[in-house]
Subunit: 374 residues, 2 copies
């Protein structure tokens, strides 16, 4: 078993090529973690993920806690054995779900009282219990419990919330002690520069295995978001992994890497796929568009995924408008493959000291999204 | 290109091992055709189907006619090119859909007037047009237009309906002329022995490339169904393929083969999979059952499919109760694999002259379904 840890093997500007050592193998960074809420990325299989170059996924502690329950997963030998996934798993703490799913909840200094979105049952989660849940699940990387504030929120609310997140982070850190897994602290601070800095300084002071920037991409303008990242990135220790939570589009990932971020997670490639939004090297297309009705080309001429090797845009469009389940599979497979190749190209460009060139070329080629219906 | 046709290469009792020669390759019979309504079997991919041993599928002319339209498919080079499937495709004529989907319709001697189940638009299909649609789609095996009578129906209604089916079959046969594909006639006759016999004699008299027994498994008792098969099976020419439409469970397939049937199609393995009904060599289990909550075994210890090699019953249950799309994929993959192996074993046993032994062993082992909730 390797020792948990992080090693930077190459720098290109502030961008870093790293090795994240976990109980389930070594992961090259910058890494994008597909979201596998239940331990499985929606619509596809473990084999498909691996073929697309992914060895690490994110699972949702909140969902797994409610169903099938963290103790059942523990009894079954942990999430890796239960879900049949042998690569590293990072679990979020549930903070984001508690503050975004429209869950009925009450926050106290002690923890969060909430009602299950599945059956309305009442639950009480403390920072300690949240780490215990992730221990029971058997995560390679656990996250502290945080409060994710809305955009916009008042200074006063954000200040108090950030203080709460700091206190909860300290309790998570204390609870972990010598647990044989990694625990990452989450920086909050809403959209106030001083609170972001305060949060970063306090969280970094607790000596976590890695640091996440949370509470972003919740509706704020992109410019504001990147300002918040810029405020804190240099406070984060250079020798620890940096994780930008909940992002994003390819243009976000490459921007994040350019600022020195090592880890990302997002539902975008999978959720958008189910909606017919497919990535190409010049931007996103929406396969539902009538203009693809007789388009015999693959989604992307340069893509080597099974979907592009086998199916035309016309047929993928037909499957989607006919509500065929295979459509979810094929579309997800393509987007995940695209993200896999994209991250691989980012890592290669850092390794070869030409990330800036890759970044510029990408920006020229990239047209963003074809439609706004995602 | 091989000549369309059928060749029997081995007999074991009345069971037959055959070779069905189509424009898209030679298929060994007895064959089970998974249903790929839109040219793709629901929830899985072409690759998965081939890996499970399937080279031939059934597509629904009715659905493809309504969306994306048979002329669009023709413009796109036919269904094989459009859907990216290079094996043989048999299309049903739409008769079954017209009489089962709750479609608003009016039957005349000339044809069927009906409303689309998608958008309510009005359509008129004649027997000639139905063959033309299948030609446009590019089917390897087309089916005649028939009326599928309900169970029970009066003798008078069934007699008139059977006459209509015969007349329609004749018009389909005349329309085909020298088309370079196969056209199968469908025997109806409801649940009256004399009408079944009359239908068989009349349809066989028209010299089709193969003969289907239709209108069965529509709610009648199993005993009644097999009686109807027994009445007509010897009327069907021994050197032509015999196709029992819309069946069925493994116990139905083996029974059909034992009576000399060569071809089957059914939604059972795929539809039941989406419901959590999974096949094992001792019968069907329902993975939703609470008793599988902590069951670490694969669905079937003897199964070599990806699902059984990778996932436990407990986890498959969790994916299903969590409404994860991957559940549809994994369950369908397993059932299709099971049917693939099952048909392969049937063919092997005929080839080795021990079909009856295989049949007896199957009957001893087979417990049918665990639950009735499918």
């Amino acid at each position: 078993m390797v020792m948990n840890g992080f090693e930077i093997i190459k720098r290109d500007g502030v961008s870093r090529l790293g090795r994240l050592k976990t109980n389930h193998g070594i992961i090259e960074t910058p890494v994008f973690m597909p979201v596998g809420t239940q331990g499985t990325v929606k619509a596809i299989t473990h084999k498909d993920l691996k073929e697309a170059g992914f060895r690490m996924i994110l699972a949702n502690a909140y969902h797994l806690y409610l169903r099938p329950g963290d103790t059942l997963i523990k009894d079954m030998g942990g999430i890796h054995r239960f879900a049949g996934w042998d690569g590293p798993i990072l679990t979020d703490s549930g903070g984001y779900q508690l503050f975004s799913l429209g869950v009925l909840r009450k926050i106290t200094e002690q923890g969060v009282i909430f009602q299950s979105h599945i059956d309305g049952s009442k639950h009480f989660l403390t920072p300690e219990r949240v780490v215990e849940i992730q221990e029971n699940i058997g995560s390679d990387i656990c996250m502290t419990l945080d409060e994710c504030v809305k955009y916009p929120s008042t200074y006063e609310y954000t200040r108090e919330s950030t203080e709460l997140t700091t206190n909860w982070a300290r309790r998570c850190r204390e609870y972990k002690k010598n647990g044989d897994y990694m625990l990452f602290g989450i920086i909050q601070g809403g959209f106030y520069r001083d609170l972001r800095i305060k949060s970063a300084v306090e969280i970094v002071g607790m000596d976590f295995d890695g640091y996440a920037i949370g509470g972003l991409s919740v509706g704020e303008p992109k410019g504001v978001m990147w300002e918040m990242v810029d405020e804190v990135i240099d406070i984060l220790p250079s020798d620890k992994p940096r994780y930008l939570m909940g992002l994003g589009f390819p243009e976000d990932l490459i921007e994040g890497v350019r600022k020195g971020i090592d880890m990302f997670d997002c539902v975008i490639p999978t959720r958008l796929a189910r909606n017919g939004n497919l990535f190409t090297w010049s931007g996103r297309i929406n396969i539902k568009n009538a203009k693809y009705t007789k388009d015999e080309r693959p989604v992307d001429e340069m893509c080597s995924c099974y979907t592009c090797r086998t199916y035309s845009r016309a047929y993928l469009r037909h499957l989607l408008v006919s509500h065929e389940l295979t459509s979810f599979y094929l579309n997800t497979l393509h987007n995940i493959h695209f993200y896999g190749v994209f991250m691989e190209k980012i890592r290669e460009s850092i390794e070869e000291g030409r990330f800036e060139e890759f970044y510029r070329e990408f920006k020229i080629r990239w047209k963003g999204g074809e439609t706004n219906d995602d």
